[in-house]
């Protein structure tokens, strides 16, 4: 691995936090691989955010920064709007490893880049050293019951990764990175934004505690789910099965067909623990399962469990939290 290329998604003229974290993680492995880390920043004309962007990327460990200059990068980050900027950078600097943050934009760009490169692709992965010091990419599949692992040295083609935003400590690079400017031109097709509304459930994206109602609950239990979330300072979510039973709004659905959440603590109430549901929960979330069925698959991935009637357990838990706060 000679070159690692990290795509930087900009958020209001600053490098987004998930991208900086991905950059830091690339830095950590680059040092042992002896690889050069390139940060690719799409920008219009001068680097957006001025020298602040260059400083931040240097600090997070970029050796070199590629400014991909195009006419308009203000659209949401998608392959259709930003892919050409990444391609312009990849033409200048062929990379063995391409890293993106697993944001909605990263998940749109990365697989297409992998397809065009004929690369291996690992989404929402972690990049870590194994027991013998070998560098491996792994990710949870089948609802967290299995991990799929790919050893870097085993593959003879490029690898494209998206890294799950998490709580990795920032890495401090030392020197000012060298800046390279490439012209990316305009996107080949014109995607237009027709409308934009505030997502009423966007608090789920950053919540550190999420309390989820599963299909095993009754409508009468929902007030308790809200109270429990309130007591824990968390946000309420629902599973697909619960949405189908009318227990909650689709915009709060967590799962493969809904949102992805990355809380510290994930409280699953009356949820069986299907692979489809757990695909929406970041692998490093600590799962608390409250379920009346001790054989429910959710207990295979839960770190903590309460077996019993939900209403009784929830009332007890709320009382314990409030008692401690009083």
């Amino acid at each position: 691995v000679a070159n690692i290329l990290v795509y930087i998604e900009m958020a209001e003229d600053r490098p987004g936090a998930p991208s900086l974290e991905a950059l830091g993680r690339a830095r950590r492995v680059a040092s042992t691989l002896g690889a050069t880390v390139y940060a690719v920043v799409p920008c219009a004309g001068a680097p957006s955010g001025g020298t602040g962007t260059i400083d931040a990327l240097s600090r997070y460990g970029a050796d070199k920064i590629i400014l991909a200059v195009g006419p308009d990068h203000r659209m949401p980050s998608l392959h259709a709007t930003h892919g050409h900027a990444l391609w312009a950078a990849l033409e200048r600097v062929p990379a063995a490893l391409v890293v993106l943050a697993a944001t909605p934009g990263g998940r749109d760009l990365a697989p297409r880049v992998a397809a065009r490169l004929g690369a291996a692709y690992a989404p929402e992965a972690t990049l870590d050293y194994g027991p013998d010091g070998e560098l491996a990419v792994s990710r949870a599949v089948y609802g967290g019951g299995y991990r799929r692992t790919l050893e870097l040295l085993d593959i003879d083609r490029p690898l494209v990764l998206t890294l799950q935003p998490g709580r990795a400590p920032a890495v401090r690079g030392d020197d000012e990175a060298e800046v390279i400017v490439v012209q990316s031109g305009a996107p080949p097709v014109a995607v237009e934004e027709i409308a934009r509304a505030v997502d009423p459930a966007s608090a789920l994206d950053t919540a550190s505690v999420v309390v989820t109602a599963g299909a095993g609950l009754a409508a009468a239990d929902l007030d308790l789910v809200r109270d429990l979330a309130g007591a824990l300072g968390g946000e309420v979510a629902v599973t697909r099965g619960a949405v189908e039973r009318g227990l909650g709004p689709a915009e709060r659905e967590v799962g493969a067909s809904g949102r992805r959440v990355a809380p510290r603590l994930y409280v699953a109430c009356g949820a069986s623990g299907s692979a489809e549901h757990l695909a929406g929960v970041a692998p490093d979330a600590q799962i608390v399962a409250i379920n009346s069925d001790p054989a429910a698959p959710i207990f295979r991935v839960a770190s903590y469990g309460l077996v019993g009637d939900f209403a009784e357990m929830a009332r007890g838990l709320i009382a314990a939290v409030r008692g401690a706060q009083a």
Partner: protein, 232 residues
């Protein structure tokens, strides 16, 4: 408007398990419902053996799809996202399309790579993770979450959109109509050797050690434990 729905993957219970808990993945089902709700001429494509795919394709026909096409060759068993995409793209090209819809990701592996790889093979723009899709003149209107916003984007056709959900409800199945058509790789001009599944790129799935849940008898014990472990 002609829409082709590509079925990304039938979910499996475990990596080596043949048992499929559902005929269609959640996202594939949403893509199919969305396509049928557009009022388009809908053709559905799957890559896989009859015993795995035909039930889903027959369901698509019963829901109102005009055609259902299955492509398979035993040499493709275990194929990766790239090979799956080459097969689905060749079938879509053969059928002709204005819009290709597909599931955003499979329920089990959740790669989310097949749709964008099909778009790459077809050389059309793509947008992933649509919450809803509509047609608007020569474009597709795609509703998509982009924190903290929900945006509506217009993408010029031809294009590919991957779908996570659809407001359209499940159609009432109607019996009869056409059967599932099959094609082999020769008919699509694909050489199996070029698509050799690249296990090396997929990696090994091993059972993750369960975290040995700390089952607690009472809610107050759970609370104390979460405090102790600094999770609260």
């Amino acid at each position: 408007v002609t829409a082709v729905v590509v079925l990304v993957r039938r979910p499996r219970a475990a990596p080596d398990g043949a048992a499929a808990p559902r005929l269609l993945g959640r996202c594939d089902e949403a893509a199919l419902r969305a396509a049928l709700a557009l009022g388009a001429h809908v053709a559905v494509v799957a890559a896989g053996p009859a015993e795995r795919e035909d039930d889903a394709l027959r369901l698509a026909l019963a829901w109102g799809a005009a055609r259902a096409l299955r492509v398979w060759d035993p040499a493709l068993e275990g194929l990766d996202y790239h090979a799956t995409a080459q097969v689905l793209a060749a079938a879509a090209r053969r059928l002709g399309f204005d819009l290709v819809l597909g599931g955003d990701r499979s329920d089990d592996e959740g790669d989310g790579a097949v749709g964008p790889a099909v778009a790459e093979a077809l050389a059309v723009p793509h947008v992933t993770s649509a919450l809803d899709v509509a047609l608007d003149g020569a474009g597709a209107l795609v509703v998509r979450r982009d924190p903290p916003h929900v945006r509506t984007l217009r993408v010029p056709l031809p294009a590919l959109v991957t779908v996570t959900s659809s407001r359209a409800s499940q159609p009432v199945p109607v019996a009869g109509g056409r059967g599932v058509e099959t094609l082999d790789l020769d008919a699509l001009g694909i050489r199996a050797a070029e698509l050799r599944p690249r296990q090396q790129c997929v990696g090994r799935a091993t059972e993750a050690p369960p975290p040995a849940p700390k089952l607690l008898g009472r809610p107050d014990e759970l609370y104390a434990r979460l405090r102790q472990d600094r999770l609260l």
